[in-house]
Symmetry: C3
Subunit: 236 residues, 3 copies
């Protein structure tokens, strides 16, 4: 539980900053030639899980209309500009050289993602009790909503782009790991009820932070994808 404690000591805006930088770096290759698409669609890509969940519950997204929206949007705008258009491409080069900082950003991204999945599952169960499909669905959307929105937006507005198949046709670790996190939390906390929600959160965060660090420094482990390969057998 060490790692999750370390990251949770950071104030929220530091974690959001790390997440925004990490995502801006990912989206740079796709959106750099189109500034408005980059500004808008990478916002949906960065915060897509929260946005999609809000509208599935038919509430305005707190990322734009909530009390912390100034912080969320400002951080996104600054990171988007720095990563794409800083003079001499200075910031982008620096970011990809400062490996420890990049690992911190990847961890912040993972930390926020796992916590969003877990928080939304808990919220779903308290809003709509006795449903077992809704929390799984909400967990997966919270964890990979950004990928689904990016897929749809890129297929629609940039059909000329060379890109991998959309998540819905060929599911990747984005969907599978969200499913694993959602299932683990649902079984541990709400099914077997052997741990309280915070302990499950710390446990799941630790496992996925360890994977993130390994993936950034050495190589992707993709253990969720291995799990998925077994599951694929029932679909032939």
């Amino acid at each position: 539980l060490l790692q999750s404690n370390v990251l949770s000591k950071f104030p929220l805006y530091m974690l959001v900053l790390g997440h925004c930088l990490f995502m801006a770096n990912l989206f740079r290759a796709v959106y750099r030639p189109f500034w408005l698409a980059g500004l808008v669609l990478s916002f949906f890509g960065t915060f897509g899980g929260g946005i999609l969940t809000a509208y599935l519950w038919a509430t305005p997204t707190t990322l734009v209309f909530g009390s912390a929206s100034n912080m969320f949007v400002s951080t996104h705008v600054v990171c988007w500009w720095l990563m794409n258009y800083s003079p001499g491409d200075f910031f982008h080069k620096l970011f990809n050289l400062a490996i420890p900082f990049k690992v911190f950003c990847a961890c912040a991204s993972t930390y926020l993602r796992v916590n969003l999945i877990i928080d939304n599952i808990d919220a779903c169960l308290s809003k709509f009790p006795d449903n077992f499909w809704a929390p799984i669905f909400i967990g997966i959307v919270s964890g990979s909503g950004g990928k689904y929105i990016s897929d749809a937006a890129q297929l629609l507005f940039m059909p000329f782009l060379e890109r991998p198949a959309p998540e819905l046709l060929v599911p990747t670790a984005a969907t599978v790991s969200a499913f694993v996190i959602a299932s683990a939390h649902l079984i541990l906390v709400h099914g077997l009820a052997i741990v309280p929600s915070e302990v499950s959160a710390a446990l799941v965060v630790s496992v996925f932070l360890a994977e993130t660090v390994t993936a950034q420094l050495f190589m992707p482990l993709n253990w969720t994808t291995t799990l998925y390969r077994y599951f694929r057998f029932v679909l032939n």
Copy 2:
């Protein structure tokens, strides 16, 4: 009114089972190679009228978040798996041989569709009285929302697919029959006020069940499409 009385004696989950099997059979050819797209998009295709209407009214869809969602989603998941991936394709072959059962499934589908159109029109008129466009619009969306969602999803995610033109460009019986059902109900119950809502429902259900049985056993009558051909004359 015989037929509608027979079907309404079935408990809801039997009708949902029939509807899900009928739709899973329709979507099989499109989605079978892509399990996640099949699971998600055929859910939107099967229950699209209810889902679209819910979000037009800015409420979370009861199909995922409502009290009966366990039954709806579970039935869909089981039917989807059976129809697509049962060993030796056993279930799919059986379904297409058991003609009387297939006719029952088609009738369940029609019965649920007509009742959804009628229920949503009545709900629309009680929520938003004095509007005459809103109930027509809601009726059409309730009756053919699944087609619109499927069209959009297939055009977006599967552009490589050979498929007929989307409903919006070349309207078919899906839109036209929803319009006829909505108009009939609006005129009989809310315009002329010559019958109460339940009688109109029974009447419309009977007519469309008769058409469904004929279409399944002999050939499509497409009488709504004939009506449509006259209406087309004002659009040239």
Copy 3:
């Protein structure tokens, strides 16, 4: 302030009539061969700003479900039919010959657009105070939502169409002028607080009506696009 006073003397339905005719004329070339797409998608194109804003706030759109929806939808349906399918194409030819009436329609369109932007910004600030990104975002969506919806719908349903690049990839005066109107109003009324909301509205309406008249009678001024060219320098 002369012009805005003149137009505001017209009853709302006259302004809506002008706006609907102006938009129906714009969309005619695209949608005429597909009547259902034309009826539905040009409604979203004509009233897209209001519709998108409503769903961003997770409320049903008043254009279909509000108390004035009969007037809005009926006007749209009549204008759509007249402009596309009147016998001998009589109405379409007449409209493009009656220059003063066409200028009135363009002005009605501009007047409603500017007022929608301003009203929605004021509503956003009273619903979600202390947010500065939300009103800018809402202002831009209110002023160019129809363009975004049309872009998406045409890319999705009519990929065979020869058309300019979508707004999101190559922003035009639609987005830029909405941004200028939103910024002017936010700075004058809510930032510097030097004028009340109505005065700012009258001022902004006058400027943009003057531009509309010039553009219709002589040539587009595109002064917002010139502003935009300077702004583009920070994005290279």
